[in-house]
Symmetry: C2
Subunit: 598 residues, 2 copies
């Protein structure tokens, strides 16, 4: 059975040594997040992940969810009890509004913890994960009454939430939504339609499930401008605020899917269910979008998480598995063979994953910090800059971390040879689970288009210019530090490629948007490399400072950090030039081809 | 349900227009392979694949194989009948020795057909595929008596074969094999041990199963020099040559695995089973290796096949699925949305796969042709050169076609959005099935080491020098042809990178083999790009000649061919420089890292 150990120390290094989270203690909620408190919270979350959630990951996959004849859904054995433990720990509301029972801690901590939960048990972690989405939507757009009704129960974990967007004929293009909302005369609506791919749509973990549903009010304008957001509880809250009468919404079936079998992916049938408008009429899509950044960051974290847990197990296997001999002669001559970690190709794979994971973890926390600042800073300019950065980085985090997270899970599986293909060893589950993160919450092609088509040009390129400036300043500030040159020089080269690609779009895509579309995925990954490289620059600087200051008893950790970063610069960053070359060829060859010639 | 259409026309274009198979009609077996005959055979194989095998692919995956209480194994519904049809068609023995009932046709045709079979139903196609391996082993190394006993039954498909190499503690490192062979006094041996991951180890398709088993004769030298090859039939042939007494070998269990559920992957227990030595004592590994090229080519074909079938379905979906609008304005304004094939990013993905598939098909046929020449040419020099080329290209075909084949299946799945993750649509099965091809028959890291550590230096680099010379000559011969420059110039650039990488190994890996190991996988893929690029050069030249000669009524096909090749050169070939950059950084960073620091 695979194992998992939460990277608490690495997370603390990032929060304390690299990003200096204590510098933010003027923000609401951050004053409570003292170094000791952060360490205690992360350690506790790590323990929960390792001891409660990880042991249910493989069994949850094998058992899956069952839809019963009465349309109820049973989650895998142990999930109910684990959820109780989770709920009692107050984990759902860690960063939620204290006014409704949340702890108001930085969402950055939530992001850190989400990695642990998702690595330990992705399918399980999605149940409370979806609740957080519902909390965010209602917090931002719900009426006072809606907040009082739903937020305390969602934040305590007594109830859970879902997001209902997709229909059989529309996923990406929500303008095609057909689910209908008809005013029922008392201020509410009758909701009718079918939603598919609804994660955690029905289950047995909570008394009530709060569905947030996109639908079209009768007579609404066509397309995305006629979509509204509704809250449709499985049980209508009674006068005391408890789960009351059963609403006309039910799980029609559970999808048979490639992975995340422990999470019920439901077809949800709304048959005149009572729903209440959230926010304004016809502005449902905008309401959805305001919470999209957090949700997409969460999916990016899933990519990192599967990469991390797959990596940990691959390392353990590579140290244990005896097979063949080192290329330059036996390393353990008294054993029948050397462990496979002696082989450079095995180390190449492991370091490719490790150097990604550590930078991706940094990028997640850095982006989440921007999110916290954007919501909590007193200064408007500061909020704006942080919001710019978060908006810009979100599609990168979602797209790159899930694409690479999946690739890494595949590479980690490969370390096991034939055993990697066998269910018993657990590696193939990481691959199957990781796969969905590239698809949902906006398929990665959509992330790339969001980056190139919306985030780049927004406000005259303000966000991207600020990002380039920040990276360039970092390189300049450290240009004279010889020890940092193995990091800053490749980073500068990567930044050059990214700026050239950006310039190419400015010159070639304004009049021909297909030139942007044709390069969008390459651009997203090029951007990701530079962002990850920037994280490595910061980590290397922090590690060198700490080593210079006496290393605090962790010379090995800091040396490994520096070596891992060097590997990233040598072996991963060179890809930027291939991305630039591809982008610069433009769209013509692919667009000239008639559709029937494919 | 996914569909499949065998690429018969594209295969004929390669055999006739690109490689001019008629030029080989002085070789035994080729004289029968007239253009009409080839077309008839390929069409028939295509029909079989499309109509008999493809419809059983998804049901076979869902149903899987069952081990019964008596240790017998039941294959999925329909497999028995399909196998009967397959056997009656004489497909097992298409290229086998006519002396034992084969048709003696070029193995190149076998390779072409294997793509169709494997694309239609990879799990099914492995049953006869394993028989071909057993036929090859016995043809090359069996005694006359063994050949007479087993070959006719294997070639007719009445019996099937398996290869038994792996044990729980050894896969790559066969020197660790423990399965024991004890002479039983009458010239045979008692074989005892456990073999794992035995594809088609037990099933209900044939009367008898002929296991080829690696084992260690009591008292044999340690390591790979003490391994012998045995034939161990499930039923010992009786005096009439029919399946007689049951031998002491049985399926202990079927592995639960990620994919190819329709093929029984067995743990095989040998409990003093009677076996006969094949070839010489202690030279079993050499016997295995002589048939490895064909087997690895076959696995490379599986990578191409899954890529092709996934591609075909992704194209169909991209033409049908209405979602969003083209970036430069609606293409089908009367419909609620445009088909997603209007999007450059969708086309980029589809052309990435298509441009790989067509070149990979060419590379498979080109390599198989070299194989045929190496076995059948009258001239020794010609045989030697062909054997060099086949040996060199085999790890490239196996490693690159399966790595990329899997990646392509993942990209094709991505085109379906959420539906790609749902079993019903069939795309996730292609991904799960394709995954094994990167692992078995020598994991791809081993292919890369085989290429760099054995195939490159062999005979003073004779094979690789000849390959470079061949590609360089092609470029030179066509250097003045402006219409070919979009193909020859990037090919030359790729060849330059490959030659630089080869030179780097010569300068840096002789004394430090880790420098070769650290770059081996990148080198394999760099080699693959140049080989595929060379195929594109040849295809482009053939397509342009045919267009110039009047196009023979297929201007669209030839134009699409040229555009697809141009895409490959613009978007895929630039990767060679990133591979070279990575290779040139060497092994030091990764080897300096202590094993415990990972």
């Amino acid at each position: 059975m695979p194992t998992y150990r939460a990277p608490v120390d690495d997370t603390l290094f990032l929060l304390n040594s690299v990003f200096g989270i204590d510098r933010y203690n003027n923000l609401p909620g951050f004053e409570d997040a003292t170094p000791d408190m952060i360490e205690a919270i992360l350690s506790e979350a790590g323990k929960l992940s390792e001891e409660v959630l990880a042991p249910l990951n493989q069994t949850g996959d094998q058992e899956g969810c069952t839809r019963n004849e009465d349309a109820s859904v049973t989650t895998p054995s142990g999930f109910r009890q684990a959820y109780e433990t989770f709920r009692e720990g107050g984990w759902v509301g860690l960063s939620a509004d204290p006014e409704y029972g949340g702890q108001g801690l930085p969402a950055t901590l939530d992001a850190a913890i989400n990695e642990f939960l998702s690595a330990a048990n992705m399918a399980f972690s999605m149940y409370p994960g979806l609740s957080k989405g519902a909390i965010a939507a209602l917090s931002l757009h719900g009426s006072e009454d809606q907040k009082r009704t739903y937020l305390p129960k969602l934040i305590s974990g007594e109830w859970s939430g879902t997001m209902n967007l997709t229909e059989p004929h529309c996923g990406t293009d929500l303008g095609l939504i057909r689910t209908k909302a008809v005013p029922n005369g008392d201020g509410a609506y009758d909701i009718t339609g079918t939603k598919i791919f609804i994660s955690a749509g029905e289950h047995d973990l909570t008394d009530n499930i709060v569905h947030l549903v996109l639908a079209r009010i009768e007579g609404a304008p066509e397309g995305v401008k006629g979509i509204s957001l509704f809250v449709v509880p499985k049980h209508v809250p009674d006068a005391d605020g408890n789960a009351g009468e059963r609403n006309a919404v039910a799980c029609g079936s559970i999808e048979e899917k490639m992975g995340i079998h422990g999470n019920a992916t439901c077809v949800m049938n709304y048959d005149g269910a009572t729903g209440w408008l959230v926010g304004e009429e016809h502005k449902g899509l905008r309401a959805m979008f305001t919470m999209m950044n957090e949700a997409r960051l969460g999916v990016g974290i899933q990519g990192l998480a599967q990469s991390e847990v797959a990596y940990q197990n691959a390392v353990a296997y590579a140290r244990d598995r005896l097979q063949g001999r080192a290329l330059d002669g036996p390393k353990e001559p008294d054993k029948p063979a050397d462990p496979i970690i002696v082989h450079p190709d095995v180390r190449r794979v492991l370091l490719t994953i490790k150097s990604f994971n550590e930078a991706a973890r940094a990028l997640v926390l850095w982006t989440a910090l921007r999110g916290d600042v954007s919501h909590r800073a007193g200064d408007e300019k500061e909020r704006e800059a942080a919001d710019d950065a978060m908006g810009l980085l979100t599609p990168v985090v979602k797209g790159v971390l899930t694409d690479k997270g999946f690739e890494n899970a595949v590479m980690a599986q490969q370390m096991y040879g034939g055993h990697g293909y066998i269910a018993e060893w657990g590696m193939e589950q990481f691959v199957r689970d990781a796969r969905i993160a590239m698809i949902y919450e906006g398929a990665n092609g959509i992330q790339a288009l969001d980056l190139v088509g919306r985030k780049l040009p927004r406000n005259g390129g303000r966000a991207v210019m600020a990002f380039f400036q920040e990276v360039a300043s970092f390189v300049q500030e450290n240009a004279e530090d010889d020890a940092l040159k193995p990091y800053t020089e490749p980073l500068q080269k990567g930044l050059d490629d990214l700026q050239k690609a950006t310039m190419w779009f400015m010159q070639n895509a304004m009049t021909k948007p297909d030139n942007a579309g044709a390069g969008s995925t390459d651009y997203m990954h090029l951007f990701g490399l530079v962002a990850l490289g920037y994280m490595w620059g910061q980590m290397a600087r922090a590690a060198q400072s700490e080593l210079a200051a006496g290393a605090n008893g962790r010379t090995d950790y800091l040396s490994a950090k520096l070596a891992t970063g060097r590997f990233f610069m040598e072996r991963v960053m060179p890809e930027t030039s291939a991305h630039l070359a591809r982008i610069s060829t433009g769209a013509q060859t692919m667009m000239d081809m008639p559709a029937e010639a494919f």
